[in-house]
Symmetry: C2
Subunit: 436 residues, 2 copies
């Protein structure tokens, strides 16, 4: 009879895992902030550092003892229950975080700068999408990068979507924190960023649906997702409105009202996961449909601290535990990594800059928009992990894409500061950008 | 090759489990509040209702599909990973909750009413402890109630400690919410309740240590626990003080400071779990040692909403999933249940009332103190679950004790309202008591 650890033994180890995760995220985040980087950069790097790419290289037996990936039951290897715990907690954190992103989202900005926003976002999605498709087409035969059983058009669609991602929540927070929300630049960046992310998620939904094999699955995903989005934004929005009115009346958000929101969030996450377009999508739309004003403010204030400081770091670590940079072990693979990084920057940053310039935006604004749109941040990790779970990307391509995500996020803030910093600094609004 | 669900499949089911858990806790909680009961009563009953005692009776296959307890790996049954997820999340919630209880705790009240408090708390721990020991002694030979391999003195010590528990957080919240904090009654109840709970936890630590088999384990547990408590309350308290000063200076609790607290909390939970006196103890002491004032207020405001409304309900459900009331299936067992309930009320409620009267407290105050001290609440479920995990109590005795915990909690508020309600009502301070 093999020894199978009890729930209690697991929970003791979970506490120490959490301590290590939180300490590492904070320490790397501190170093990142010292260099003017947002917290997300620190957490992306911390996640990778705790995985096989650094901790696992330096002290493989310690790493496996702290974060075991499999458990033996007799002769059978099963996923380690603690990985399930980390994964499930990370999913909760991700759903809550995307809900908060939706809650902060201001749809009215979309309308104000429609023309510029349309062309910047179109450029920012078409160019990287095409470049992503080309890369997939060129390297489709390489077994280190693409699985033989995945069809060419699926690889192309997935890589295209993955290249088109923008770290919209991070972009939004930088704009808000620099006090640029009402400005020309701020409105344009927010509008273009949100359109791009929405489109990239739609493409992802199509890819995942087509990847399901049968068109019945695709219809469920796309149809179910569309119906969900429409119903939530119309009927749902109207039914949720009283929550806002009651909160204004009471000048308070009592526990029972928070509980209603949490239940709806769990149901939205479950439903969108179930139909195959993922919980992050359902959570974001639900956040969009929530009443604004005091209700949204209080909800944010009650949920945000534990979500960003406790639950979300687990997603970065789960992702990092599956990132094995050492798989990029030939000059050829490093060349591919540099090519993908170049294509990502050219397709997103440069294309957005050019589109903004062609629309008559000043050079400084266009550069700033390009730098912000280019950052992939947390959003890229989400799409990559979905691709990895569904068996679309190989571990090697996953590692290459994670590096791309980190580098594009890493260069965004210095670039933005360089072209826009003086102006923002002069008005005394440059603070620490601590967001995802 | 058996099908082993992926992390993703687990997480989808976890979302629906969470939705059901939160809905049930809220609905039962609403009914409970309609009858003037605190939220904790609703959640205790909701947890039991989702387990084999109600949901599992009405729709066994649905219950097992929603909350599977085991997973087959080939021929071997292993604990279902989702139970590990619920357990680990519940432990996090419990540790955070006990930390918040410690954070709210006011040690200065202990001193003010030392004499009355000492006799009430002494009566409130000695009487139920002796009665608990007697019950264990009387029924030690009954295999439905006590395991043959557990020694008599261990059974006696455990049942004694379990009978002596007071729902201190609930008592404190009732006192605070009725605005009785500064009053004679409030001070007495808070002081006596806190002494009792502290003593009961110490007894539990001794029981668990002796249950470890070797005295080395007992020395580690008691010695390690004592050293932890002393170091945390002296050196730790002094080292934590700057957190409070910085927060007053900044008039804000930035994420990095929250992260420091969370890391310390995880380490405290891990350490006290590891030495065998359980995370709840370590978390409570850490909360006690934290600076007060703005720091404690902001910490409470940032952590409390998700802890009490999202994480803590999972503990009630985990406990309820292990509570099988149908095991009490003979008149003899029901007689034992009634005997234990009677002993619990006589030992705690009546003894505290008499001790208060003997100390010259007015009849009304003495009755109110007795009613409040008699409630077992969440604290009882914690100690019972520890006993169950360590194999001290049988499932039948566990179910009997859960019923005792629910009934004593259920009668506390009406009794308190009856003897003290008019007075509190007259001053307009009777609100909804929503706490654990």
């Amino acid at each position: 009879m093999p020894h199978i650890p009890s729930h209690f033994e697991h929970s003791v180890q979970f506490f120490i895992q959490l301590a290590v995760i939180l300490v590492t995220c904070r320490l790397v985040g501190m170093v990142a902030r010292r260099f003017g980087q947002p917290q997300v950069v620190g957490e992306m790097i911390a996640g990778v550092a705790l995985g096989p790419s650094l901790f696992g290289l330096l002290a493989p037996s310690w790493q496996q003892a702290l974060f075991p990936k499999i458990m033996m039951v007799g002769e059978t290897a099963v996923p380690h229950p603690l990985m399930t715990v980390i994964y499930c907690t990370a999913q909760i954190g991700l759903a809550m975080y995307m809900f908060l992103v939706g809650l902060e989202f201001r749809t009215d900005l979309l309308v104000q700068r429609a023309r510029s926003a349309a062309s910047v976002s179109l450029a920012g999605i078409l160019a990287p999408f095409v470049l992503g498709c080309l890369v997939a087409w060129g390297f489709h035969e390489n077994p280190a990068l693409f699985k033989a059983e995945v069809k060419l058009h699926e690889d192309m669609l997935f890589l295209g979507a993955a290249m088109s991602i923008t770290a919209f929540p991070m972009l939004a927070r930088i704009i808000y924190e620099r006090g640029l929300t009402g400005t020309s630049l701020g409105t344009l960046a927010l509008a273009a960023g949100s359109i791009d992310d929405a489109l990239a998620w739609c493409v992802l939904a199509i890819v995942l649906a087509s990847f399901g094999g049968s068109w019945a699955i695709a219809v469920v995903a796309i149809g179910g997702g569309t119906v969900y989005a429409i119903v939530t934004m119309t009927l749902g929005r109207r039914m949720l409105a009283p929550l806002g009115a009651w909160t204004e009346r009471d000048n308070d958000l009592p526990p029972r009202r928070l509980a209603v929101v949490l239940v709806l969030l769990m149901l939205a996450a479950w439903y969108t996961d179930k139909i195959g377009i993922y919980a992050v999508f359902g959570a974001f739309i639900l956040g969009l449909a929530m009443p604004r004003g005091l209700f949204a403010d209080l909800l944010q204030r009650k949920m945000e601290p534990l979500v960003t400081n406790f639950l979300l770091p687990m997603f970065f670590v789960y992702s990092g535990l599956n990132t094995q940079v050492t798989l990029i072990d030939t000059p050829m693979l490093w060349a591919v990594a540099i090519l993908i990084l170049g294509a990502a920057c050219a397709g997103k940053g440069v294309a957005c800059y050019l589109a903004a310039r062609l629309n008559g935006e000043p050079n400084q604004d266009a550069l700033a928009v390009g730098a912000l749109m280019n950052a992939r941040g947390l959003m890229e990790l989400i799409i990559l992990n979905i691709g990895r779970e569904r068996g679309i990307v190989t571990p090697t391509l996953f590692a290459i894409m994670v590096i791309m995500a980190i580098v594009t996020t890493l260069i965004a803030t210095p670039l933005f500061e360089f072209v826009y910093g003086r102006h923002a600094r002069r008005t005394g609004r440059v603070g620490s950008v601590a967001t995802q």
